[in-house]
Symmetry: C3
Subunit: 328 residues, 3 copies
Amino acid sequence: MQAEVGYRLHELVQRFGGTVRGDPDIVVTRVAPLDSAVPGDIAFLSRARHRAQLLLTGASAVILSAEDAGLTDLPAILCANPYLYFSHVSGLFHPRVSPVPGVHASAVVSESARISKTASIGPHCHIGEQVIVGDGVELEAGCVLGHNVVVGDDSALKANVSVYSGCRIGQRAMIHAGAVIGGDGFGFANDDGKWRKIPQIGTVIIGDDVEIGSGTTIDRGALKDTVIGDGVKIDNQVQIGHNVCIGAHTAMAGCVGVAGSAVIGSGCTVGGGAIILGHLSIADGVNISAGSLVSRSIAEPGTYTGVFPLMPNREWRHKAVCLNIWMR
Amino acid sequence: MQAEVGYRLHELVQRFGGTVRGDPDIVVTRVAPLDSAVPGDIAFLSRARHRAQLLLTGASAVILSAEDAGLTDLPAILCANPYLYFSHVSGLFHPRVSPVPGVHASAVVSESARISKTASIGPHCHIGEQVIVGDGVELEAGCVLGHNVVVGDDSALKANVSVYSGCRIGQRAMIHAGAVIGGDGFGFANDDGKWRKIPQIGTVIIGDDVEIGSGTTIDRGALKDTVIGDGVKIDNQVQIGHNVCIGAHTAMAGCVGVAGSAVIGSGCTVGGGAIILGHLSIADGVNISAGSLVSRSIAEPGTYTGVFPLMPNREWRHKAVCLNIWMR
Amino acid sequence: MQAEVGYRLHELVQRFGGTVRGDPDIVVTRVAPLDSAVPGDIAFLSRARHRAQLLLTGASAVILSAEDAGLTDLPAILCANPYLYFSHVSGLFHPRVSPVPGVHASAVVSESARISKTASIGPHCHIGEQVIVGDGVELEAGCVLGHNVVVGDDSALKANVSVYSGCRIGQRAMIHAGAVIGGDGFGFANDDGKWRKIPQIGTVIIGDDVEIGSGTTIDRGALKDTVIGDGVKIDNQVQIGHNVCIGAHTAMAGCVGVAGSAVIGSGCTVGGGAIILGHLSIADGVNISAGSLVSRSIAEPGTYTGVFPLMPNREWRHKAVCLNIWMR
């Protein structure tokens, strides 16, 4: 998986900034974690808890913050944000590989679809009428695009992704295997105890530079569209209900659920397994702790939490009983 | 996405009841939400919070309850339940489109399968032995039906749905992309620290008029069948364990988990992210709040909740500490 | 679904131990639950709550513990662990059916892949370069294996499973429909409000005798590998983050989420819907209750819980208010 291309430390600093401490001609050919690095590797220290690993690492060089510079004598690149710096170096060693252009013979593509000549359509894909697939797009095997779908330049859809009719995906998106974009929202009117379906006639609009995790589902809007802003990052098995709007550069960890018509600001983070109820709005810059249920709108940035603390079961049984009789 | 067919208000009232207030010959050609409606559209008001939008809407007509009739001078249809009425009107404008009958050349269909001549089997589907597919059924691309599966008339399976052997799906079902019906239940006997698999020999029986969301999984029974009643509506990414029975017209929001052998009544609602433990029973007409864990049977209808309230993290930390030392 | 092969009780005892009480020549041809068994069936009693069913069962014989032997006069097999014994008997009646070897004509297999002659590759599968598929492996329709994937002998991948490049699956695995193995972990460095992707260059290593449920997702490691130990059983819709290690014979129920770099011991159980945060470690033999959020490492075996107890909503509202003002 690792490219065998080497870079000297001073070449890295030329590209990404920072300063070299020690021999600038040291060559590194791989990125690796401190505790398993071997000569030729460059590692990084970003969390205080890993400091002890600095003493034992086999890395040829490390990426460090200035305040941690004294913790090792190894050749180093000193910078403000070692984790961010590492992302640049790792991206240099592992550039996105351009797909081999062309449509696999087993794919079924509507005549009215417009597929860029630089796009790659994998085996057993199905592409509906009037679909537009941009330059450098890669669809892995088994992807299904409904009618009128648009996929922007340089986006990648991994295996078995399903996109319903009319949905639009921006540029440089990465959508992981098994994700479903544009299924019907959960809209039913109660008719004397039975549920009557509301046609879901909106679509899903996904901005640029969005990543969507494996098995994540994003429903189409009921009347308007569901909108995912630029730079949004969504982890695996997240459920986004109909009409939801998510502001730019918000990040959601795995297993989050967002109910219909919620409006979430930009620059938010939502921890794993949190549930956000419908028809509420969350300001920019809000952080929701993992496992919390958000049952009301949040107008102020900050961190919000609602989780019963973990404890030994015997203790919990006692407290659960107390909570149930408490102030009755 | 919208059909360009027009209806006069009196024609709608003839079909669906209610009374016209204002010019009965007004023609509407689309449904739309109040805040983005333009002339030619019909909108509706069902939630008090949207009343202000009545004053600014561009809609040609609105659907209102009698008590809200005075809030606007626009031509209106007055009725008991505007949201339900709207579902009828929207359904009229967006009827289900019958699929083009036929089996796509790339589909692989066992010779012993019986596929109705009016059914549509999409590209790259695989249909096992002895399968029965009814009239008007649509299978989108990439669906896989194991042996002996039955799909009732007018049901639709969206892209990449997987149905294991022996499962039966009723009439007019809609199963969204990536859903999995009939995978093995989670049944293992502990054998001195190792887990020994219990063969899962039941199936899944799904009634009529059921909707199942994207990425939802419903396990086959261990010895008996897992049963989903008529008219049940299940949102995305719901997990239903083996042997579960769900009564008619119950609705479950996204990310719900139901553990094995739970028996859930009819006419229940389960909020998003709720977890229902196994081997318990829930009466008809129970509402479970989003995010709640149901750890015991519920014999009486009503609304039940168990969620730690959301608060600023600083406050929560204080309370979590208190809860941990409280009454030790 | 049931094989019509009969066994006499004494033949079962010869294979699996225990003692016969009553006529050892009774023939049983099916396993069934007590309450729906008919003559010819063998049932079992493992839970005290089902004792009443013993009186009414139509079974020809039952599997019982010695202490429950007096509860019925039916022919019986007495043993230490009736549920485990039943798993043996049921496994005898329902052996794994060997797939018909061969590669379906519609599958797309790279020339450099090495597929055992005893493996079965279903319709519309796609197998990448250098993949190795062992003896007796079954891939159902629509599976996608990226480059360099290894699937060990006698493993089964059900419909529409996606495995990314470089992942290794051990022997006798069962991976259910729609599961995704090896998608990118959720790794981004914050760059002045925008998220910059960290290439995810590890893989996923899955041991022997692992079962993975429908719709479950297991991310590849960021730098190292994500590791699933031998005999681990994972239910449906579980999300495993990058770099996670799960010890042997641990079992996780549906809808569990495990965040990145968590290390979970062997012989643990995790209840449905529990969330385990990242970068923490859990000892061997820990049981996490369903719905709990694990926010800290756990060093001692035992059962841990953190769930707000369920109560009628009216009561909950009162307590939620109290909790919010409590000790402010």
